[in-house]
């Protein structure tokens, strides 16, 4: 305690000389807090459980080539035939056919349903056959499973995130609440169950979705000429690194229907990776990490430089201390303590600025820079960010002062005082 006060007095005596170091710490602390906050939130969101399992899941890549030999077949007929043949394969556990409804995909469609005629919630439409839930290992209610829901536009299943959005505005919202159709006010849409919370994107929040089931009839009637997606889950025992090559070599030929050919079976992890790159989040994490490293290296270099000169200028002072009975390790701690104290002094006003930046997110809305919205703003998040920033900079302070401080330890008192 005495040591700290002594150090503080020294710092106050030489406040002007410390000007640059203080300015640098101030600026770096603010930027580091922002980056630690952003990276921390992104990484936390990334590692939270998804609620979907994409291991052993493959996306079937289909191409249309050449002329059709049977002109009575529509696209939907061909896709349905591929789906049925796929489901009969011994290595395939379950398969699903869907229309612009894949997770981690840029192809999507959104619409709104209303409750009590006035509260509209916009969510993503999932139009798929019953196997979808099992392919992605989502959880539905065993008493009213998705695969047994009536396959028409008047029956829908909400995901937990959609239910939460309704509940925020209508506290009494439940599974029995009838929903209004977007275009036809005379129709009501009945809820047939709920899908438990899941995230379709590793950097995103719980996904609000409306699930509609399709059966053979509805597919062939409503989507006769549309492009469909087929996903399937391979039995764990049958999957392996060579499954993709085996699939294209052996199974693909069995699935080809008319002029619809199977080109590839893409592991869903690749789709996930491509989506994250396309969204720019991979880039964001990488570039933010690089800036963190850059700032830390700068602090390191700056402190080596500053304390080097400082040690040389204060040779006589240090020599005096050594002559008066200071141990060498005490001198070492004096210098490192000075650096850490400077950092802590600056941390307090810097934290004030950081807090205001964080609050600004709530008032001026989501900016591109501070939009780590999957994690709510809170005091804990703010403090953790500050702690992270302080620790990282303190580490650099220690490393940067290490060499000049060691130099200081080696000063021979008699020589130094003699020069004076």
């Amino acid at each position: 305690m005495k040591f700290a006060i002594h150090n503080l007095r020294m710092i106050r005596a030489r406040l002007r000389q410390n000007g640059w170091v203080l300015a640098e710490f101030f600026l770096v602390f603010i930027v580091m807090w922002f980056l630690c906050d952003s990276l921390g939130c992104m990484k936390y969101t990334f590692y939270r459980p998804l609620g979907v399992d994409i291991e052993h899941v493959y996306l079937l890549e289909l191409v249309k080539g050449g002329e059709s030999r049977d002109s009575s077949l529509t696209d939907a007929d061909k896709y349905w035939s591929v789906l049925e043949k796929l489901q009969q394969e011994p290595t395939v556990e379950v398969a699903a056919l869907c229309y612009w409804s894949l997770p981690m995909s840029g192809s999507n469609s959104y619409n709104s349903l209303s409750a009590q005629d006035s509260v509209w919630v916009n969510a993503r439409l999932i139009n798929t056959t019953g196997g979808y839930i099992d392919v992605f290992r989502m959880k539905d209610d065993a008493r009213c499973p998705f695969s047994e829901m009536p396959a028409d536009r008047n029956h829908v299943m909400l995901s937990q995130a959609t239910v939460n959005r309704f509940k925020r505005r209508i506290p009494e919202f439940s599974q029995d609440t009838p929903l209004g159709h977007p275009y036809d006010t005379t129709l009501t849409v009945t809820q047939s169950g709920t899908i438990e919370a899941f995230r379709t994107y590793r950097y995103g929040d719980d996904a609000p979705c409306y699930f509609y089931r399709l059966d053979e009839n509805s597919v062939k009637k409503r989507y006769a000429d549309e492009n469909a997606n087929i996903v399937f889950r391979v039995k764990a025992a049958a999957d392996g690194d060579d499954y993709r090559a085996r699939f294209v070599r052996e199974i693909a030929a069995r699935l080809d229907t008319d002029n619809l050919f199977v080109a590839d079976a893409v592991p869903y992890t690749q789709q996930q990776h491509q989506f994250e790159v396309m969204n720019g989040d991979t880039d964001k994490v990488n570039s933010q990490a690089i800036v963190v490293l850059f700032l830390l290296v700068n602090v390191f270099l700056g402190l080596i430089g500053t304390f080097w000169f400082r040690t040389r200028r204060r040779r006589s002072e240090i020599a005096l201390r050594l002559a008066m009975g200071s141990t060498k390790s005490q001198v070492f701690r004096l210098l490192t303590g000075e650096g850490l104290l400077l950092l802590t002094i600056v941390a307090l006003p810097a934290m004030l600025v950081c807090y205001n930046i964080g609050m600004a997110e709530l008032t001026i809305g989501r900016t591109e820079l501070i939009s780590t919205w999957p994690v709510k703003w809170g005091v804990l998040r703010f403090l953790l960010g500050s702690l992270g920033a302080w620790l990282l900079i303190a580490l650099m302070v220690m490393m940067g002062i290490f060499f000049p401080a060691r130099q200081a330890m080696r000063i021979e008192p008699a020589e130094a005082l003699h020069e004076e």
């Binding site: 640098e24 050449g66 720019g280 850059f294 700056g302 430089g305 500053t306 000169f309 591109e368």
Partner: protein
Amino acid sequence: MIRQYFNQAWAQLRQQSLISAVGIAGTALAIFLIMLVVMMQQVKVAPFAPESNRDRFLHVHYMSITNAAWGDGSSNGPMSVTTARECFQTLTTPEAVTIYSSIVVSTPVNLSGQPAMGIDLMQTDDVFWRVFDFSFIAGKPYDKASFDAGLPVAVVTESVAKKLFQRTDVEGREFLLNHAPYKVAGVVKDVSTLATTAYGQVWVPYTSTELTKTTWCNDHMGMMSCTILARDRKDFDAIRSEVERRKQEYNALVGSNGYEFIYRNRPYDQEKNAIAFSANQEPDVEQARRQRLIIFVILLVVPAINLSSMTQSRLRQRVSEIGVRRAFGSTRLELMGQIIAENLVVTLMAGLLGLLLSVAFAYLGNSILFAQEYSQTLNPPAVDADILLHASTFGWALLFCFLLNLLSSGIPAWHASRTSIVNALGGKMH
């Protein structure tokens, strides 16, 4: 005078080698990172083959349409050939307008009886070859006659030709594209995936496939995008007003079914198109620029503060020299100028080091730096010398060196020159 600066700077560097090394490392690191950020932006905007006309491009990658019955809803995505032709190929102001498939699709190619490999296929018209400048090493592109007839001809890259035929002079040879027979019309040099609009490994006329039949919204939306080549950048305003006029005319036509096209201020120039992510949102160029500015400021100011403190400390030791100079008639401004100039020598040296590092990193670490979403079947994002080593690259590097130097040595120099002569001769700063 210049020699004197050089000599003094060099002498100083040698005297305090560790501190000088630290200073140079700090400056080089700052310039390195700044140049990486500059290069990442340049790659999106600066012209290089086959997109050498980037500064004259106006892109319409996606389109948006709404219907009176949909309320606020809209459908967003690539457009149909009909829309592209009616709304953009009818324009008279530009030099050329090309229509091509919106994305490359991984498609199997093979020789009859042999296993297939996946390549990135793009489907285009004949104007494509006038708008983008490819280097043909054999044959030539398909012309208007072949395109109109829908002939199954293809232009392939060198790597594809080598993989398929084990040689590159394969003009006229046949191969199977998606189980259909095609003939090679020409072979071009490989195209980097960084050329986001023109990239492909095989190009075929879209009239030779069924791609244009995939449409929705009453044949208004489909799978195509288009790029407009203006005669000059100054024509952009004229082109935009003609596009607007054509939009009004065409909307009046399709309005009979309730449809209405929403352009969201398309067509976009190269810079805006490069940051366009989704089809239903207009990209905000100002915000992207602001973000880059903030990054530059951080990358400049933090090292500047570091270097300032080091420069200040170093100047302390030269206080008596400054005093002597002042006593002999040097003005404050001259003194400041000298200190800044000496610092400039060091900054430029470090800047050159940083620039070399960034170029090396861009070559070697290109997959880290330029993350690509397309599968890299045969070629990773190749970074060409002419993409990176642009005249503007050097210009930017020089500018940032100057700025860094000014920021880091300006205040210490000003401070040092203000010392009174008596104090300076006595060895005191104030």
